[in-house]
Symmetry: C2
Subunit: 199 residues, 2 copies
């Protein structure tokens, strides 16, 4: 193949690195793009370059944003209330989709890990403590993944906030909405039983 | 969301229009891109814009190319031999992956369809006849899909080439390599039986 055709090959190889794509589906996607050059390929390429160039972490909370601070930190209605601590932007988006949280976030960008030498500094935990003091926060909600590393990190943050006078909570654990007991793991059933409430 | 965050939303909406992607998987892909801004997102956007801007149909065969003519038409070793007639670029790529065809192609860009008012002119069939006369072609291989419209188009081209002295063939129909008879449709088994050969 000539260099020119090599560019199409290079595009397929780049597309194949997207999650959910392999070499076959990437080729199919590129064929689709080649058919819709003006309607889809050109605007998608342009938008991708624009976002890649402009996007950065919000200096307040660590969310991704193209503005100076992210839309959530820039919204005065969301200030001075709860701060929800999440592991990454994926978790932040999931919380926002839930649609029932009206406070701000703090994106750790990972979890504590002795193996990977990720300590409190790397996760911006001192900055979180500073925000709690400075922003008049009423509550810190620990919305970390229910994994060992996630829960270790949650405990560390809870201890660091001890004595600050702010309320520290974590997401409830239990049966998911629409979940069937028969398909749930034992740990979830035990947790749901321990946290049972008056009907 | 502010306009800036709207750009990330717009990127997700554009990604969701790729085949194999829905709103959920597009969001996951964009999160992945946001994590790999410099390593993947920037080069992918740039390559996509470059290809969208430069790509066009090869004026000889209708293949997609970024050069003046496609690499296959530009290769003198592939000239003056067979012309393989395919419905679209996807079929051309599939033939090339097969790796055993050494001639050139003619991409119709569709099939004859009275309903959609697609006639021989729209498919470049007069141009194919011209190429057969001008390029000293030895054989025209009809590699059209085994659908009703594909076979109608194949018959039309075969008739148009009647009397030109060039050999007209079509791909063999039969049991796919690795195929089990129990899983094949009746039409394929009948076709394979009719075309049986000495072992």
């Amino acid at each position: 193949m000539s260099d020119a055709e090599g560019d199409i090959e290079a595009l397929i190889r780049l597309m194949a690195r997207l999650p959910g794509f392999g070499p076959r589906s990437a080729r199919r996607a590129v064929l689709h793009l080649l058919r819709k050059r003006d309607g889809l390929m050109a605007p998608l390429g342009e938008m991708m370059s624009h976002v890649a160039e402009t996007v950065h972490d919000c200096p307040v909370c660590g969310n991704v944003t193209l503005a100076e601070t992210c839309a959530i930190c820039a919204d005065p209605a969301r200030a001075g209330r709860e701060i929800c601590v999440v592991e990454d932007v994926a978790a932040l988006w999931a919380m926002e989709r839930g649609g029932s949280f009206g406070g701000r976030y703090h994106v750790l960008g990972g979890v504590l890990s002795a193996l990977d030498a990720i300590g409190p500094e790397e996760l911006g935990i001192p900055k979180l403590l500073e925000r709690v003091r400075g922003e008049g926060v009423s509550e810190v909600i620990l919305a970390l993944n229910a994994t060992v590393d996630g829960q270790t990190t949650a405990h560390y943050i809870a201890e660091a906030l001890d004595g600050s006078g702010v309320r520290v909570t974590s997401l409830a654990q239990g049966v998911p909405i629409g979940g069937e007991l028969d398909y749930l793991d034992d740990g979830t059933i035990s947790a749901a039983l321990r946290a049972r409430r008056a009907f």
